[in-house]
């Protein structure tokens, strides 16, 4: 079977001068976008294609770090503008271009309109809009999934760390009180130079964070063991010497 060529349709051939011009312009445009250091002119330019919620997340954490260092958190208006621009490009411009050009093309096809340069323009918008929309959808799915996984790990890890920090604070408190006891004379219910006889009040021995036990009380040293209320494998052990110094802390379980 011989293929027939339509001389009237030669301009739509993939190697037509029009096509070559179009592909050259697109390539040059892409190179220009990649090579020109736009981010030096506007540092947030790359964020225009980042999920706005992701940008807001970064901003919130940087504000937290700023507060941590004692600075007043500051929101840069440029960052806000980039965030809203990203929202508009990714969630409005992309879908509107895609859906609208799809509709126009569909209407033209239904009406049997021949392919003209105008229709090719709509096809280009359909591709650009579709690319933005599908890219947004793809990253939305990826970021939601990764966010769920990261959150679960982070909440668990920080819960462990929080209990650990609280138990350390509790241990510091009882260590200071034990040393107080060691200094005081017997007449004032003290140990008169010894940790022997020191005991913890019920509130100190057990609270929401965990339980504190006296492992050993000798004249020169006392040793405490704190056990987490959430997981008994997580423990902290510390000793206080004769001048009130706490020894290196020993951790077990998730506290290691």
């Amino acid at each position: 079977m011989n293929q027939k060529t339509d001389p009237n349709n030669a301009s739509t051939s993939e190697f037509s001068p029009k096509f070559l011009r179009w592909i050259s312009i697109t390539t040059l445009g892409t190179l220009l976008i990649v090579l020109v250091p736009v981010h030096r002119i506007y540092p947030y330019s790359f964020n225009i294609f980042h999920n706005p919620a992701f940008q807001a997340m970064g901003l919130t954490i940087s504000m937290g770090l700023s507060e941590f260092s004692g600075h007043i958190p500051y929101i840069n208006p440029k960052e806000l503008f980039t965030m809203i621009t990203a929202l508009v490009i990714l969630y409005i411009v992309g879908p509107v271009l895609w859906l609208y050009s799809w509709r126009v093309l569909k209407l033209k096809k239904a009406a049997g309109t021949p392919i003209t340069s105008i229709a090719r323009g709509w096809s280009l918008l359909f591709i650009i809009g579709g690319a933005i929309t599908f890219r947004t959808v793809f990253f939305e799915l990826i970021s939601t999934t990764s966010n769920r996984i990261v959150s679960a790990h982070l909440y668990k890890a920080q819960d462990v760390q929080r209990t650990k920090d609280r138990l350390i604070n509790d241990l510091y408190q009882v260590s200071f009180e034990a040393y107080d006891y060691r200094i005081l004379p017997k007449s004032l219910s003290g140990g008169n130079g010894s940790y022997e006889g020191f005991f913890l009040s019920p509130q100190q021995a057990k609270n929401d964070n965990g339980e504190i036990l006296i492992v050993e009380a000798r004249p020169q040293m006392i040793t405490f063991l704190a056990v987490s209320s959430k997981n008994i494998v997580n423990t902290i052990m510390v000793s206080v010497d004769s001048i009130g110094r706490t020894s290196p802390w020993t951790y077990s379980g998730d506290y290691k």
């Binding site: 807001a56 997340m57 919130t60 939601t144 408190q173």
Partner: protein, 219 residues
Amino acid sequence: MNASLKLILWLLAGVLLPLAAFYLLGSANDHWASLNIAGAVSLIFLIVILGYFMRPPFSIKTRIITWTAFVLVAAVGIIGWRGMEDLSKYQRRTLMEIHTMITNGILQDELYTPLQKTLAAYYGQPGKKKETLGHVFQRLYPSGKIGENIHNVHQPDPKGDDSLRVVVTTVSDNEIGLVGYHYYSRGRNKEFKNYNGRFGFVQAKAVLTEKGVRYESEN
């Protein structure tokens, strides 16, 4: 009206509505509130354009597939969006909680250490005639006058941004009082008035008597 003009009008409406919601209805201090409002407006706009654009000649099948995909992606998007907001706010809160916890630990140490040093020196005096608690404290801490800061006086922070203060509140024969506070580490109660007149920051006090140290975390 031709198709290009219609597209420009749709784009214009789609750009202006979230922008207006973001800047006019949002909060200047809470970027999440602004973004959430703009996001909600964008979602409503997307529903409108989807309903308007996906009319015939699109087949019922295409419309059902498009709407189903939209609902699924929107649901995942909302879950992800909310997750990012919750996670970042949690991180920010946790950072300040960590700061408060560190500050409380430092304050405990900074208040107990000089007082226990004084107590140990007081009971460690030989013979029957003893110096009072006040005298022992002032011998050990010559700069420890009422109202004076005794934190880091010998090793001041070279940058000058030490944000912790330990101030002597009482010096008498039988009692030494100290109060320690932080300049920006937040305490439990926002209304609490700190020693320096500010509100809501970490503060603790400790009182030394012959019976030992009484420590209290005030905020």
